[in-house]
Homo-oligomer: 356 residues x 2
DNA sequence: AACAGGAATAAAAACGTTTTTATCCGACCA
DNA sequence: TGGTCGGATAAAAACGTTTTTATTCCTGTT
């Protein structure tokens, strides 16, 4: 049908054999020289390196992979949201991938992304990666309170870093946000502002961080000597629609919240949309504190108070930790729990009117 | 320091040799049988396939890769936005990757992601992928009017699919949005609503689709017999900040726009934020039509009229086209230009006040 | 003067496939 | 009966590395 241009594609790229012929050394010596083995004499190495540069030699990754068993790949599990209309879900993954990619930039590792649709799916993919050694290391998020991936990877000794911690006392490399602290701080701030009925728009309770946030939320009430408004905790997916529906439902209750804590940007937008259609205004009729993955709450009208999570930086840490883990470093050294930064854009004390 | 669990990791996975020993056939026969070659007798093949299943044999990807020169990877170039504070940029990439990942799901190909920071960077990475055959195919977006990646890939015959078209008359696989049409339609709608001074918040003019949008924008004016308000075209990165700054600047002009067309979600949020701080209301003081990557404009207050781009579906098409291209299909057959769907959420005629 | 030791390099083996070439064997034909 | 053909399988080579083992040659020691 069409002119196929395939044939002339490879102009013949030099192999280690080419170098051997060119320099007169054996391929064994070439290999050792190029990877800096001390057994080869200094001048020899220099000559070989010079020749390699001259010919534009690049080690063939497939040959190396076969011989060494390494793949030079770092795998990342990425959630896929196939539901139409929930398209904002997971937008923060761009940031995470971007961070990881930066960390890997000047290593020999390449990033490979594996989409999954469900918790079970994610486990199967992780196992396949380990079984076939399709990668040298693995990064994933969305950690469950009891996460089978962590058990499996831990047992097999496969290098991995998780974004989030499970609730078992295992030692493994991880990066996390201090969700208990953040939820506590947000809730305490609202309580200090006079609120007593506070809603928490939360994630699926199988997720470890969802539990952490409930813990912090409850602690704030207890430390203030109040009963926690546990009945105002909504959990579901992190879609905008969920945020909207939850806010509508909660605000329609007989004893509704006077403030809301939102778990991420997506739900926040949904909550604000609900407030808009109920004609209630943030900072006037109701207070809202949110988590902010992608630094966008500053542009809402009005701007709202958020915990800013430097998600790209966390991504960079994930990549860095994985590199170090793959290099054999002790996982106990590879842990980071970051406290998000509170950016107060509203007084959040509407509850003061309640303070009779 | 710590208990290293590495040693017992590989429990020995079966190779083609194991199968040979187990079945009594030679490795050559095994290989042919498993890949369905017709030269091996039917009963033999059945026996071999059964044995393979029984032993849980999985072909070693590294061995295959070395022998065949294929990598079974599809590479994607992903923009990395290192500027702090611009973190919304590129959120739609999650959707694109998600779509591609779905398309590749039941193929043998894995997705590998390569971050780049600049146009030049992207070209270098593309070239490296081709030179070292680090992948069997390539997907990228952000096509320039004159894009060196396309020239290079086209010449080398390397399979690729681009999201967007360059302005050269080359035949290559691509997926695109009909930006000329969309900009025309949005502008024409506003003109029909009585607007004459319309701003276009646009992307960098080196980008092919930025030019397409200017073309459509201008055509709408010309077909209405009006002079296009070219002085109200702003171009820059697609950040929220850019949207905000541009809107503030344009609305402060002596002869300001009465309506704005926004190029994506991120800039739209910036524009709305600017309107908020100027205390102008959408649909009352000014009309806004936007492009909507991630289906979120419905949640703005008020909801605004948008062109919805099914970005995940486009991602799926990208993946599908790449698979077909890698299978040798004629690139002329692999082209999709999608017209985004206009979702009218506002009359966009400022209540008819403009129609004098 | 002979030999041990060591430095430098070469040769060979191995990783797990696919593909090309060779071998075997029974059937068909003259 | 001898030869050819072709179907089925086996053997061997090759892909490009790294690593283990072997060889060479020089130096220093006895």
């Amino acid at each position: 049908m069409a002119e196929n241009r395939e044939p002339e594609r490879r102009e013949f790229s030099p192999t280690i054999k080419t170098l051997a012929a060119h320099t007169g050394y054996s391929i064994a010596t070439i290999s050792k020289a190029l990877r800096g083995s001390p057994v080869v004499a200094r001048p020899t190495r220099d000559a070989i390196v010079a020749a390699a540069r001259e010919l534009g030699y690049q080690a063939n990754a497939r040959g190396m992979a076969l011989r060494t068993g390494k793949t030079y790949r770092a795998a990342v599990l990425m959630p896929i949201t196939s539901a139409v209309g929930y398209e904002w879900d997971g937008v923060e993954y761009t940031q995470i991938l971007s961070g990881i990619s930066q960390a890997l930039e000047d290593s020999d590792y390449q990033l490979s992304v594996h989409g999954f649709r469900s918790f079970g799916d994610a486990f199967d993919i992780a196992r396949r990666i380990v079984d076939q050694s399709a990668a040298d290391g693995l990064i994933f998020s969305g950690v469950l309170a009891d996460d089978p991936r962590i058990d499996m990877l831990f047992e097999s000794g496969f290098p991995f870093v998780s974004l989030g911690r499970c609730r078992k006392p295992l030692v493994y490399a991880h990066v996390d946000v201090d969700n208990e602290w953040a939820a506590f701080t947000a809730t305490a701030r609202l309580i200090a502002g006079g609120h007593e009925r506070i809603a928490l728009i939360n994630a699926d309770r199988r997720l470890s961080y969802a539990l952490d946030r409930i813990d912090g939320f409850s602690r704030a009430f207890h430390e203030a000597g109040l009963a926690a408004s546990i009945d105002l905790v909504a959990d579901g997916d992190l879609s905008t629609r969920f945020g909207r529906d939850s806010a509508l439902r909660l605000l329609g209750l007989p004893n509704p919240p006077t403030a809301l804590v939102c778990i991420n940007e997506s739900t926040t937008l949904g909550v604000l949309s609900a407030l808009g259609s109920l004609e209630r205004r943030v900072g006037v009729d109701v207070d809202v504190i949110a988590y902010d993955d992608i630094n966008v709450s500053a542009y809402f009208t009005p701007p709202i108070t958020t915990f800013y999570q430097p998600i790209e930086l966390l991504g960079r840490k994930l990549g860095e930790f994985l590199l170090r883990r793959m290099a054999g470093e002790d996982p106990a050294e590879l842990a980071l729990v970051s406290r998000p930064e509170l950016i107060g854009r509203q007084p959040d004390n509407l509850g003061g009117r309640n303070r009779s």
